[in-house]
Each structure stands twice: as C-alpha cells, then as structure tokens.
C-alpha cells in the first residue's frame, strides 16, 4: 500500500524525488567480500579512497540492515546458494553491484568450480570491470548506481510510459547494457 502503488502525478513527483535522494545518498553495502576484489573494496572503504563521502561509510555485515550487495570476488558453485540466501534475506529496496570480472562473467576461471557470472543467481544492477577493479573503478560503479536510482521511478507508471531506470515491481533490469537472463534461477549444484 506504499508509495509504489500510487499512480504517478504531480503530487507524488516531488515526494518521489525526496525519497530517491534519501535512498541514494545513504546506500549501506553488505560486506560480501569473497576474494581479491574484497581487499580492493576494503581499500575503497578505508581512508585513502573513503566511501564515506558517498554515504557508505559503514559496511553492514547483516543483510537486514544493508541496501546494496557488492559481490566482490569469484563466486564458487558451493557459495552460490549462500549468495542467493543472503540476497533473499536483504530487505527491499536492494541493489547488486557485481565487482570484478570474476563476479560479472567468471573472469579468467572458465572452469567447473566458478559460476560464470553472478547474474545467473541474483539480478545485477551495475557491473564493475577490472581484475581487481581499483577503488576508483568501484566508486565509479557506485556513482553509476546512484545515477540509476536518481533516474529510476518509484510510483507506478501508466503502461507504455517507461522512465529510464528500474521499475521496482519487476526484477530490476539494467538500462542500456545487455539485459542478463531474466528470472534468475535458484542455482543448485549442477547434476
């Protein structure tokens, strides 16, 4: 019954802007550090690159208090269900940054052990390239996500009027990039 169900009109416009501004300027990441990218994520969080400038200074370990899951590192077959479970336990609105090529497409490990791209498990909003992406690249990805939240719309649009960005009702499909296979399936270990 929240704001999402109201029809978009002039009254909800400014309230929407306020809510989107509030959401994007205090996105708290969940510590989901897996491999080498996690070290770069920590360096981004530390003093030199300082994610706190973007309202993300605290990495919440529990998914209940996190809005953004940065998948930092290679996702192994054994880790896939755990990743999906943590994603499910995160509270809406939630976003996913797939940090590094191993998370985005399996990277250099095209073998039996690595899930070739985390978008097979969770819908991904922003892909950060690099192996590991240095902190500037990660901050660029975070700013892209902020941009995406700013352009996205909150209230329902009349069918046909598709504002750029995410429609929270459906699984968020990224804009412009090749959309990942929709309906992220629950990945058990392959038979």
């Amino acid at each position: 019954m929240g704001l999402e169900d109201l029809k978009h009109n002039f009254l909800t416009g400014s309230l929407e802007e306020l809510v989107k501004w509030a959401r994007r300027s205090s996105v708290w990441p969940a510590t989901f550090g897996l491999a080498c990218c996690a070290i770069e994520m920590m360096s981004a969080g530390a003093a030199d690159f300082d994610l706190a400038r973007f309202g993300m200074e605290v990495f919440r370990p529990s998914p209940r208090q996190a809005d953004l899951m940065i998948v930092a590192g290679r996702v192994s077959q054994k880790m896939a269900p755990v990743l999906r479970q943590v994603y499910d336990q995160m509270v809406e609105p939630k976003w996913v940054i797939s940090m590094g090529v191993c998370a985005s497409t399996g990277g250099m490990f095209n073998n039996y052990a690595i899930v070739q791209g985390v978008d097979q498990i969770v819908p991904v909003d922003v892909y950060a390239p690099g192996c590991p992406p240095n902190p500037q690249t990660l901050i660029h990805a975070i700013l892209t996500l902020h941009e995406k939240i700013r352009l996205g719309e909150l209230t329902k649009r009349r069918p046909g009027v598709t504002g750029a960005g995410i429609d929270l009702a459906a699984e968020p499909a990224p804009v412009g990039w090749v959309a990942p296979p929709s309906g992220a399936v629950r990945l058990g270990t392959p038979r």
């Binding site: 019954m1 929240g2 999402e4 529990s62 755990v82 479970q85 499910d88 336990q89 509270v91 809406e92």
Partner: protein
C-alpha cells in the same frame, strides 16, 4: 494554572517523542516497499539455512546476568525522582539515598565475590603472572644471522 505550567516542558517532550516515533514508523510504512518473503522471516545464520532450529534451552548464566541488570536498573529509576528536587531534600535526602544505594550495592559485591559475572573461558591460561607487563618487544627473542645455525 500556576502549578500546571511547570509540567508544560514535560508535556512537550512527550509530544515530541511520540511524534518522532510515529513519523519514522509512518514514513517507513508509507515509503518502503513491502514485500515479505519466507527468506526474510527465516533466521539469518551467516548465509546458511539452519537445518536445526536454535536451541531452546539457554544456559542459566544468561538469566543471572539479566536479573542483576534488572536490580541495578530499578535502583536508577528510584534515583530520578530524588534527583529532580535534591536541593530541597538537602542533607536528609542525601543520607537517605546513600543508604538506599548501599543496600543495593552490597548484594552486587556479594554476587561478584561468588563469581556470578566471570564465566570467562575455562581454558584461559594466565602465563607468567610475575612478568605481567609484556610488551611487543619483550615477549619475543631475536635470532641474528650469526647465532642462528648456519645452514
């Protein structure tokens, strides 16, 4: 009305408190998307779906700690009214509150003496009690190239 307006600040404090609480709950109910799923209700165990639900029987020490807390907490609540007009109560008030505080403090000391609070690790080994001041350079020895066995 004279005596009533001295209660005005307290009244505003209550109104402000309730308003703030109502605003935050209302805003989150209104603005946050409500999509409850079974996973969100499940207990969070570091990403693992727990196979067996958490143990029902908690060790008794947890309750002990809770009881000690309740006793000391009530003592603080009694201090509030005394603190409001401590000036007018004067010396008599002071002695009275001291007696009350001592009467709560004595059982607390007894509890500590009985070891209710220190249920620390059983296997904690207290090494070298004598040389208690260990620094990062005193607790290590250095083996230079000469004294070491030449390979």
């Amino acid at each position: 009305m004279g005596s009533l307006d001295s209660y005005l600040p307290i009244f505003f404090m209550i109104v402000l408190g309730v308003a703030f609480a109502a605003l935050s709950f209302g805003a989150s109910k209104l603005l946050a998307p409500q999509r409850p799923t079974s996973a969100k209700e499940a207990p969070y165990e570091c990403g693992i779906v727990p196979t067996h639900e958490p143990a029902r029987r908690f060790p008794v020490r947890f309750y002990l700690i809770a009881m000690i807390f309740v006793v000391v907490d009530i003592e603080i609540i009694f201090l509030f009214p005394w603190a409001v007009d401590a000036q007018s109560l004067g010396r008599f008030g002071l002695v009275e509150i001291l007696v009350f505080a001592v009467s709560v403090f004595v059982p607390f000391v007894y509890l500590i003496a009985k070891g209710a609070l220190d249920w620390g690790p059983v296997k904690r080994v207290r090494p070298l009690e004598s040389e208690s001041v260990r620094t990062s350079s005193s607790t290590v020895r250095r083996i230079g190239p000469s004294s070491g066995e030449a390979a």
